[in-house]
Amino acid sequence: MRYLLVEDNDQLATAVVDRLSLDGHVVDRAGNLGTAEDFIATTEYDLILLDIMLPDGDGRHFLQSHRAARRDTPIIVLTARSEVSDRVGVLDLGADDYIVKPFDFSELEARCRAVLRRQSGGASNVHSFGDVVFDPLACTLTVHGRDIRLRNRELRLLEIFICAPEQVFSKSKLVDRLFSYDVDASENAIEVYVGRLRKHLEGAAVQIVTVRGLGYRLSQS
């Protein structure tokens, strides 16, 4: 998926770009509205993340003109203005969702996914690896023509693996990605979800292999 991030805070922007890239997305970053317009003129995006207070203007004006031009790229507004009326206001202006800063990257990821899922009328973002096909928006894993419906955490875990096959992920990294900062974030819980995925992958040529002392990786047998 291709994202456009319009955000003037460098640290936040870098962190968001890093995080989204981990999920296999391509992210362009614009530091102001002018740059954002340039990007939009030349590239087709699946999702725009838009800050409200930008050096060269109000993100809400961008939002309005974007909708007025009948461009239907979904937009998620990032706002530090946390007044409810402001938040509701951006939805009325045509935003698909909003997220209040400071936000949890997992929440951002979840909101992006939800918006993309609502938006995509089948526009696929299908990953295939070995003999399995994975559609993160439809939440399905297809093994030998058999569709398996994945739950959110299973899906996110598989997404992590499938975006970087053969890469070893430590349990603690997986905890960060999967549980955000939840109370139930424990490395044991990772084992539960790995177990579930393994069950789904039974019979496939693709496996989650335990790398003793280091973590897990997805590999093709």
Partner: protein
């Protein structure tokens, strides 16, 4: 509230008492004046008849054959009889010598001239009115003084006076009753604008602080002016604190964004478990404070908007669907399924959509936060007889029994929520929104399955 008000007297009662006292005095005065006038009038007419009678008798006195004859004419007494059953006495003297009549009638006052002399006395144990007149006659060249006295008892007069008194007393009472009626009405209508003002102020929302704009009588200008001034000051002070909280929340959140971002980036680079734990705790603390700042701001917003409730027709089903779709990503993150039952037909509630949404989001947020992963949250909207009920249930630990009554208080959190990020303001907000809309928040625990059940009721539009 009235318990703390120190009461002294009542304007209405004072007005009524004063008006009634005035009316009573006037009525009594009228009674006395009319009565004495009637007495005079009645006495005067008796006197006139008595005088006429005396004159008639004196007129009948004649000198015949050098001797005095007094032939008392019949009508001289009959005209007296016309008045009533009163007894009549008379005596005739000549030069002070008794001639005829009742010899022991009280002696009249001495004559000064020939005009009739009136006098009230008693005779035979009864009060009488007597008239005496003197006529100078000439008998055989000698001057003779004939003196005629006619007296009459005063039964009739008294009866007449009693009758008149009764009538006048009746009039007086009637006058008093009418004056009293008008007095009470006047007192009430004088108090009316005060009552109306009090009514319109107490009918207002929790602190609807608009100035009183309804017309008031001139006398109340000062009161209403002071009231409006007071409300203006209160409003200014309230909105100052709203602004302050909004500004503070914003100022706190913006740097927190940077800190949180840095912390997340750091966490990715750190491998040592104890360092990771430290960074995680940092992030948690940041989340706590940013949530607290956000909720404080929301709470201030809710209080402010509740006080200045802008009422419109809000479709609850759509509102709930929107709120649910807003929290779906959060539920997804924890594999929580939202089981939503919302009727197809629209249900309208009068209220502020932003507030209602805020209340719903808080309930949904709570349910998702406190649910274990892989569980279900039930959202149920249903129309009940007098309103609409939105129920949010979860499979979490439920509300601790001991805390049940105080969870809607500010900054109070359940004793079993330490591990979850929260501000202790969520239910406070929900409760305030419910109350501002004439609704109610009911908290309970699901008896069979366990878990919390929050039921939000709003009366229909």
């Amino acid at each position: 509230m009235s318990g703390s008000i120190h009461l002294r007297g009542s304007i209405q009662r004072r007005l009524i008492v004063q008006l009634l006292t005035g009316a009573a005095l006037l009525a009594t005065l009228m009674f006395l004046v009319v009565q004495s006038y009637a007495r005079d009038l009645a006495g005067q007419s008796q006197d006139e008849i008595l005088a006429a009678s005396v004159t008639a008798i004196l007129d009948s006195a004649a000198v015949r054959n050098g001797d005095l004859t007094v032939d008392i004419p019949y009508f001289a007494f009959s005209m007296l009889g016309n008045i009533s059953e009163d007894r009549v006495f008379y005596s005739i003297t000549r030069n002070g010598d008794f001639l005829t009549g009742y010899p022991d009638l009280p002696k009249p006052t001495a004559a000064t001239d020939t005009s009739p002399r009136f006098r009230t006395d008693s005779y035979d144990g009864e009060s009488i009115r007597m008239v005496t007149a003197t006529r100078r006659m000439s008998i055989s060249g000698q001057p003779d003084f004939i003196e005629v006295t006619v007296a009459q008892t005063r039964y009739g007069l008294r009866q007449q006076l009693a009758g008149i008194s009764r009538t006048v007393a009746g009039f007086g009472l009637g006058f008093f009753a009418i004056a009293a009626l008008f007095g009470i009405l006047a007192a009430q209508s004088a108090i009316q604008p005060l009552r109306q003002l009090a009514g319109s102020v107490s009918r207002r929302g929790l602190s609807d602080l608009r100035p009183v704009s309804a017309p008031v009588p001139a006398e109340m200008e000062v009161l209403v002016g002071a009231l409006n001034g007071f409300m203006g000051r209160l409003k200014a002070s309230l909105s100052r604190s709203e602004d302050l909280i909004a500004e503070a929340a914003h100022r706190v959140r913006t740097p927190l964004t940077t800190v949180r971002t840095q912390a997340e980036i750091t966490l990715r680079r750190v491998d040592k478990p104890e360092n990771r734990q430290a960074v995680r705790e940092m992030i948690r603390a940041i989340d706590e404070s940013s949530r607290a700042a956000g909720q404080l701001l929301d709470h201030a917003m809710v209080s402010f908007r509740s006080d200045h409730l802008e009422v419109e027709e809000v479709e609850i089903c759509r509102l709930t669907r929107d709120a649910v779709s807003r929290v779906v990503p959060m539920a997804d993150l924890r594999d929580i399924e939202l089981d939503v039952t919302i009727p197809k037909a629209a249900i309208y509630v009068k209220g502020d959509a932003i507030l209602l949404q805020s209340a719903l989001l808080n309930l949904l947020d709570n349910a998702i936060k406190y649910s274990p992963p892989d569980s279900r949250v039930y959202v149920h909207v249903r129309a009940v007889e007098t309103g609409v009920e939105i129920t949010v249930q979860d499979n979490g630990a439920g509300f601790p029994k001991a805390d049940m009554g105080r969870l809607t208080r500010r900054f109070v959190r359940g004793s079993n929520t330490e591990t979850v990020v929260g501000s202790g303001l969520g239910l406070t907000i929900v409760n305030e929104v419910a109350r501002a809309h004439g609704g109610q928040l009911f908290l309970s625990n699901r008896s069979e399955e366990g878990g919390a059940c929050a039921r939000l009721f709003f009366p229909l539009a």
